[in-house]
């Protein structure tokens, strides 16, 4: 029988494998539990989700969402509800980047010790305070909705990182979720927060990148003169401008958005330098804002010929840009070369103080995008663009440095852009507005930016 005892050691081997596996499962479960519990197909969240969820406030303590008697109640103002839909979310988890989707387990009081199983009387739900200003969002939303615009507008404080205004259209009232009908594109992309999850061809706003690359790599690039005759063959293809700009230097080329000037710079810099600078500026890079990944802006000239490279330098070809990322580029210009990372979650509080939602570092800064001397020169050019070409009166009493863009999209339509920042000390706001199929940036995006900035200025300055 001794032999049988010795051979039965094999059962121990078996048991060890089993217990190791069990331990692995348990540890894995503890590590990933909150990630897994938040999955949208978890019916604890999608079916009975928000009945006990905590409150969501804006920066001024206005209630954006709360729960009363098992019902989810949103702000009483239609514009506020609709403007903040993509930020706050609705009862469903269709808008996957919204606070009520990604922090739903936290809002409902999930933590691994208690799971999702506590009876309602014992839930310790968390309240979330956002950095956004409900009024600024509502006004911006109204301005976009009046024109039937689809697109994204975002304004954030480039010193602190607080996002003040963030709107994505089309939107809908969380009390009255839309039904998407096949063939009707009114609500196409309605579940996407375009500020976070979309990219658009950047058009002329990309000239900031080309300019920075030239300033840091070509001696005397700034004062180089070009005779713009309205069109020029580069790499066998016509590069055209809206009108002949005459003899211009870089500052003037930026202000009048001369395509030929920057197309030639891009060709001269070559694909490697252009790619290096695009990547320094955050293209092709994953950027995280709170717990969301921004849609990645793209710059890829690996298969581009000379003509394509030329167009890539003025934000066409395959270039794509995310609106919030472009606002970060402007924050880098405003901050002497280094961007501020935006954030929206200001504070999380809960009854037992189980902080089950992590707050990202406030006011953290990213990798430097350019030298501070480059930033100063770009700043001059962007400021000159507004003061000499659009006129300072465009933005009321605010002093704005900006660049517009009009990007051709595949179907012959044009997306209108403006990206920039406010230079006033007491109003450090960086912004980006992109209107899908809006035509010229100056006529579509600029008025929206004006509304967004004016309302956001009230939020940060108090007047």
């Amino acid at each position: 029988m001794k032999k049988i005892l010795n051979r039965s050691i094999l059962t121990w081997v078996l048991a060890s494998v089993f217990f190791i596996g069990l331990g692995y499962f348990t540890i894995n479960l503890i590590i990933h539990s909150s990630e897994w519990a938040q999955k949208p197909f978890n019916k604890h969240i999608s079916v009975t989700g928000l009945a006990q969820a905590g409150d969501i406030y804006d920066r001024n303590g206005n209630i954006l969402a709360t729960s009363v008697d098992g019902e989810r109640i949103y702000n009483e103002d239609y514009s506020v509800r609709t403007a903040l839909l993509h930020t706050v979310g609705d009862d469903s988890t269709n808008i996957s980047t919204a606070v009520q989707s990604i922090y739903r387990t936290g809002l409902t009081g999930y933590n691994y010790v208690l799971g999702l199983g506590l009876p309602d009387s014992f839930r310790s739900s968390s309240d979330i305070t956002l950095t956004l200003d409900a009024n600024a969002c509502a006004q911006t939303y109204n301005a976009m909705a009046e024109n039937g615009y689809k697109g994204a507008a975002v304004v954030y404080n480039y010193k602190t990182g607080e996002v003040i205004c963030k709107v994505s259209t089309p939107s809908y009232d969380p009390y009255d979720p839309v039904e998407i009908v096949d063939g009707d594109d009114t609500y196409e992309g309605v579940y996407l927060d375009h500020v976070i999850s979309s990219t658009y061809p950047p058009g002329s706003t990309f000239k900031l990148v080309t300019a920075a690359a030239a300033l840091e790599n070509i001696d005397g690039a700034e004062s180089r003169l070009l005779q713009c005759e309205g069109s020029k063959i580069i790499g066998g293809e016509y590069v055209t401008c809206v009108e002949p700009h005459g003899e211009i230097d870089m500052k003037e080329a930026m202000a009048c958005s001369c395509n030929i000037y920057f197309a030639e710079l891009a060709v001269e810099l070559g694909p490697d330098v252009m790619t290096r600078y695009a990547e320094k500026f955050g293209f092709n890079q994953a950027i995280e804002v709170d717990d969301n990944q921004l849609a990645v802006s793209k710059y890829d000239v690996s298969k581009a010929d000379e003509a394509a490279l030329a167009w890539s330098g003025v934000g066409q070809y395959t270039d794509m840009a995310n609106p919030l990322h472009m606002a970060m580029v402007c924050s880098a210009v405003a901050n002497g070369g280094t961007p501020t990372v935006p954030y929206m979650i200001d504070d999380v509080s809960s009854f037992f103080n189980f902080k089950n939602i992590k707050i990202s570092d406030k006011g953290s800064i990213g990798e430097p995008m350019m030298k501070s001397s480059t930033a100063n020169k770009l700043s001059d050019m962007m400021r000159y663009t507004v003061s000499n070409h659009y006129g300072d009166s465009t933005f009321g009493d605010l002093h704005v440095a900006a660049k517009t863009g009009t990007a051709e999209v595949a179907d012959g339509e044009e997306d209108g852009w403006i990206v920039g920042y406010v230079t006033d000390e007491d109003c450090p706001l960086a912004f980006a507005v992109c209107i899908e199929h809006g035509g010229f940036g100056i006529s579509s995006a600029v008025p929206i930016a004006n509304v967004a900035l004016a309302a956001s200025a009230v939020a940060v300055r108090g007047y």
Binding site: I4, K39, L118
Partner: protein, 573 residues
């Protein structure tokens, strides 16, 4: 319901939800500490006195190999002795010696033996040139052997009645919690059905206890308690799924208990068991053949047959037979005659299961075969050969069965597109609901995992973990996993290697099955399709689980010995 009442009920629910995992841990500890206590030290049963060397050799076990090999239980340093010379066995009618095919033969009182021969006190056994005289063990003065598992000294462990009372209290709590679902508290309509089912489980448990303690005069009830503990939890989890399923669980548990008692009776005489081996082979293969011919296809596997409106899974019953024919007493092991037949039989079983498309069960049979054949032969070469050919066969299966190929593709990626919507659906949902339960669960009846496909069987861990929490889940897994340690600890205390082999392999089979179930459902292994012993819904599975633990029960010498007091003392021989 008014607010105050709701609060009171919520408070009760919270207290229950914390108390249930705590009590489950206490019950687990009590069962196993009771299994560890009240055991005798491994004292010699008799002695063999070497007249020439003037040396006493203790005989420790019920079956002892005698030979020149150092690994023999009775080692004789004599070059005229064969490596495996003889086997000395204890049976109900006394001590027996058999020749294991030695060259020189075995002589009792000068006569060469053929077949089994009884030996009595002061008989002279001649093996090679060594002569051994049978003596009482009282004359032996050596140290007793001890296993780490057993703790004979120390305070007395819990009595069977108290243990059952504890489990009864636990079931009352669980069924109370099952009544107080979220829905019933919010609507104010409390359905007492779960409570009634709880009382039925408790009643079955006590009736079984009374019958075995008064009727069969058995003193220990730990293994049964463990099985009832598991069965009861399975039934309570089933209550909110379907009445029919719950009734089947209960009925199957009763059938299982009857099978359990029958097997213990049947296994009482190891020599009788070996006489029936042939019939068990035939019956098992017959069942599998009937399954292959008349089988019904359900969920991709043809492993069901319909008998008068009742669906049964023959492969579950065959598991029990597989263990019986795989095990053997020591004298049979020494002659090694049956081994080839067993290998052939195993190949047929695994092949039949593969043909049915039930690859999970095929894997269980194969792993159990490895365990059985290794415990019989101790031969690593056979083991390696078998594993190699199995790996070869399974790569072919993976290649040609598209749904298995797909499952392998999704392995480790169940949360990623597109697997999260098809092949990885079950696993990702199981993990999500496991995470939703936390330590204490969302409460029986409040879960959503039960809405998933096959949630009551293959991915039942999702329901357990979601509704009762990770603590209870681990308690259930450890309760079954630790059976292996117990089965191994009683190896040398069994009345025959038939019991030690079958106990180790039955415990091993349960652990293999549990591993495939848990790790398959949680994407640690790329498999699904086997049941969680005792917990998963399924009558055939429930019956076979009770059948399998009968082997562990039978390996405990107290199961038979205690009611025949006196067998411990060697004076009777």
């Amino acid at each position: 319901m008014n607010e105050f009442l709701t609060f009171v009920f919520d408070l009760i629910v919270v207290i229950l939800r914390v108390a249930i995992p705590v009590f489950s841990v206490i019950i687990l500890i009590k069962i196993y500490s009771s299994l560890r206590h009240n055991r005798r030290d491994e004292r010699p049963l008799i002695m063999l006195f070497d007249d020439y060397e003037k040396k006493a050799i203790p005989v420790l076990y019920w079956e002892n190999s005698i030979g020149r090999s150092k690994r023999c239980d009775v080692f004789l340093n004599d070059s005229t002795v064969s490596r495996e010379h003889a086997v000395l066995l204890r049976r109900d009618n006394g001590w027996i010696i058999t020749d294991s095919g030695s060259k020189a033969g075995v002589f009792v009182n000068g006569e060469k033996i053929t077949g089994r021969t009884n030996v009595y006190l002061n008989d002279k056994i001649r093996i090679g040139s060594t002569t051994l005289v049978v003596k009482r063990a009282e004359e032996f003065e050596g140290a007793s052997r001890r296993s780490w598992f057993f703790k004979p000294e120390g305070k007395k462990s819990i009595s069977p009645k108290r243990l059952l009372a504890l489990i009864t209290f636990f079931f009352i709590m669980v069924s109370a919690e099952a009544c107080l679902t979220k829905e019933s508290i919010s609507t104010g309509i409390i359905d007492l059905k779960p409570f009634i089912y709880g009382l039925v489980v408790i009643a079955i448990m006590w009736v079984t206890y009374i019958i075995t303690s008064l009727g069969f005069k058995r003193v220990n009830f730990e293994i049964e308690s463990l099985a009832f503990f598991l069965t009861g939890i399975g039934v309570m989890l089933s209550v909110h799924q379907s009445d029919r399923q719950t009734n089947v669980q209960l009925a199957a548990a009763v059938v299982g208990i009857v099978l359990f008692e029958f097997l213990i009776k049947f296994l009482e005489d190891p020599d009788r068991v070996s006489k029936f081996t042939r019939w068990i082979y035939i019956a098992s293969l017959g069942l599998l053949a009937i399954n292959l011919i008349f089988g019904e296809r359900q969920y991709g596997a043809t492993n069901w047959i319909n008998i008068a409106g009742v669906s049964v899974q023959p492969s579950e019953v065959v598991k029990v037979g597989f263990i019986i024919v795989g095990a053997a007493s020591l004298d049979q092991l020494q002659t090694k005659k049956n081994f080839l037949i067993f290998i052939g039989f195993s190949a047929l079983c695994v092949g039949a299961l593969a043909l049915m498309g039930d690859f999970g069960t095929a894997l269980i049979f194969f792993a159990t075969f490895l365990l059985l054949s290794f415990m019989r032969s101790g031969d690593f070469k056979t083991l390696i050969l078998a594993v190699t050919s199995a790996v070869f066969a399974s790569t072919i299966v993976i290649r040609f069965k598209p749904y298995i190929t797909k499952r392998f593709e999704a392995w480790g990626h169940v949360f990623e597109e597109p697997y999260v919507w098809d092949t990885g659906m079950q696993q990702s949902r199981t993990l999500v609901y496991c995470a939703s339960g936390g330590l204490f669960g969302v409460g029986i009846g409040n879960g959503f995992c039960k809405e998933l496909f096959a949630s009551e069987s293959d991915i039942v861990i999702g329901i357990v973990c979601e509704e009762m929490g990770i603590i209870v889940t681990l308690v259930l897994a450890i309760a079954i996993g630790a059976l292996v340690f117990y089965a191994r600890a009683i190896t040398t205390r069994s009345r025959s290697t038939l019991y030690s082999i079958s106990a180790c392999c039955a415990a091993g089979l349960l652990v293999i099955q549990l591993s495939l179930n848990i790790f398959g459902a949680t994407d640690i292994l790329p498999l699904t399709g086997v049941t969680f012993p005792f917990i998963s819904a399924g009558g055939s599975s429930m019956i076979s689980c009770w059948g399998l633990i009968a082997f562990i029960k039978a390996a405990d010498e107290r199961t038979y010995a205690v009611r025949k007091k006196g067998l411990f003392s060697s004076s009777e021989i």
